[in-house]
Amino acid sequence: MANNIYNTIRAALETRLTNTLAGTDIAYENVAFSPTTGTLFVKPTFIPTVTQPATRGLNPQLLYQGVFNVMVNAPEGSGPSLADTTCNTITNAFAATTDVSIVVGADTYIVRIRYAERQQGRIDTPWYSVPINIGWYIYNT
């Protein structure tokens, strides 16, 4: 399953995001998307970082970890509250120690959240963009 584990992790995180932000425009990676000026949208990016053995010995279980970045883009000039509300919804859904599970075939995978950090918002005309970095990890063979 090792070759597919990243697909599973991405699916788990994106599904959680989609369910959390029902009705909000989401610009998934490498999918054509044209934002509507004046309408908030979010852009998730899946960033695996380190894969390392979790135990010693032959064929050890592996620890996979990485970042799930979600860029919240609110209309420029509309004040911070719309972005703030969306950011709070996301950070609550991905709060530290949260388990995000997904069922693939007969197996259930649980992606654990290590942290969810909201950063400073910046103007990226015509948007006010606020990045959220969500640290995740999962043990798998």
């Binding site: 990016t45 960033i47 970082t49 380190v50 970890q65 990485g66 970042v67 970045n69 860029m71 910046r122 990226d124 963009s129 990045p131 970095n133 640290g135």
Partner: protein
Amino acid sequence: MRETKIGINASFNKKIKSVEDKVDMFLKDQLTDIARTAVDLSPVDTGAYVTSFSYTVGAGRPRGKSSANKPKYQNKQSKRDEGFSNLMQDLSRAKDLEGVSEVELRNRSPHADDVENGTNWSKTQGYFVFAQIRNMYG
């Protein structure tokens, strides 16, 4: 008047010093790893971003270079080596890390936010350099 004297064996002091030296060495190794990771994850065009990293221990002006009017398509590896060398110089200046509570990795190039999050870039997305370092080294 009451007085209590506690004698400390000389070998105890030596052991404490040895532990301090090992902690110092571990910290420098860790900061060296972080420096290598930072420059390896950085994109290189003019080299302004990758050579703008600095470690700051207390006071000191961090590096910050603009890419404006600089030649593009620079040699990636040599610019990364230059950035790494800058960070190693910062560490060598901070001779002793004992007692230091905080070391900051900074990048003060004007387009550092663009590189991190893709802000102001219409086609390319960010490189998430600091996000990845934070994830790997916590």
